[in-house]
Symmetry: C2
Subunit: 238 residues, 2 copies
DNA sequence: ACGCCTTCGTGATGGTGATCACACGCATAT
DNA sequence: ATATGCGTGTGATCACCATCACGAAGGCGT
């Protein structure tokens, strides 16, 4: 398969982002080869849709480079972002395994690259390799956990402040310093943050102001500095 | 293993609730026998907790008789019910497969019976029977779908009326008549309904009044009659 | 029959966040 | 420079629903 958009393709992208929880690591030699045969790699520009909510599942995408956002929308146009995916993540797995329509839309937030594995091939591959099926099951149950966290956040923590604090903390843990502060490159618009925590853009703006005033965070250009982790945890407290 | 609470035990409960999506149907003879060896059956009274949020996963429960509610709570005591389980459902599967703490509490809503399969035995069983692992994966992805529906409901439909209407419809579809009305035995308290749709008891009371006045539903004793399905669907519209 | 507990109905009140509106800064394009 | 668009800050308003409060109705044991 030729790559769209005329960009380069890495030869073997499946192994490039080696992460602890990577699904397709440590396979037997034959399994690895088979996987290489059925996958195809492509490059996507910013804004490209890997798949769209409601489509029949064509296959899974293994993200190699770039970030993607997973979102779902109501008829009236309200949108929630359920996950920000990074390289190594496997997208569309649930739909492919259960053969139901994609439940989310996956959109590239920046130019990137992904491996595509067609549904039929993957299912056959799993039938032939029982040990991988179990690993897939593990991955699915991890996905479930994440979804459950989301449910807890949406259902139990009522106020936007709480959810905002929770989001900041989830960013903070990735880049924690020993002195309690941490820095994150802020690539999301207020609108997008609003879609993550289920509120409006205006409220997010006000939350930023409020948290700045309370010395909880600080902004230098597009760099977000989280000042007071403990205070944030106190706000969350669920 | 002896049954607690001094009640009777069915000999082979695994096969009693034969449902389309039943996990452990149509197994090979050996697999079926092995499964029978590692399972144990017990009877539970109303209010019994099969497992509690946060506990290390001991194993899965296959519900044979009785209903159970799955719920999760915040520290401040707010509770949401995420699922009402019926016979045939497999509880605790996600936690067992991913070896993380139970993410919910499972409580019997009425006296019932369940098979228990210890974690270690199940995992070994799955390793030995690759084809079952794939079926487990399918089940997990169905669970994921359900969770996703919950996220959509919580995140996208803002008003309690909308969520209430959605709940009524989900009950209605199970027992639909051809004339558009349907009857359901209402076994939940307003408090529990509130925990399902994420609002307060008082609001549920008021919703009942409001919907009665609008001729959307009717109550005869504990029998709920849903009068106007289309109007409900119009309220939902997400 | 009596008290006790759970469930349910409904009024009054107040806070919170969605909504609308508009202005500003800052890109990039013309 | 001017235009156009996007992302952002912030004020004013208002509906909605959580909360508190209380009473009524039913179930259950003693």
């Amino acid at each position: 398969m030729r790559a769209p958009y005329g960009l380069n393709i890495l030869d073997n992208c499946l192994t490039c982002p080696v992460r602890e929880e990577h699904l397709f690591c440590n396979l037997s030699v034959q399994a690895g080869q088979r996987l290489n045969e059925i996958k195809s790699t492509a490059v996507y520009p910013k804004g490209a849709m890997l798949f769209i909510e409601g489509q029949q599942p064509r296959g899974v995408f293994v993200l190699c480079a770039g970030k993607a956002k997973l979102s779902t929308s109501s008829r009236e146009g309200k949108t929630i972002i359920t996950k920000l995916s990074e390289s190594g993540d496997v997208l569309g797995l649930n739909s492919v395994v259960s053969n139901r329509p994609y439940e989310v839309t996956a959109e590239m937030m920046e130019p990137g690259q992904a491996n595509f594995i067609p549904r039929e091939s993957l299912i056959q591959f799993l039938k032939d390799n029982g040990e991988v099926a179990l690993r897939i099951a593990e991955q699915l149950s991890r996905n479930y956990y994440t979804a459950y966290e989301e449910i807890r956040t949406l259902g139990l923590s009522s106020s936007p402040s709480e959810k905002f604090a929770k989001l900041l903390l989830s960013w903070s843990t990735k880049t924690s310093q020993n002195d309690g502060s941490s820095q994150v490159k802020l690539t999301l618009t207020h609108e997008e943050i609003a879609e993550i925590i289920g509120t409006t853009r205006e409220t997010v703006s006000r939350l930023f102001s409020e948290f700045k005033k309370k010395q909880l965070l600080q902004l230098k250009g597009s760099t977000l500095i989280i000042r007071n982790r403990l205070a944030l945890e106190k706000i969350v407290q669920s």
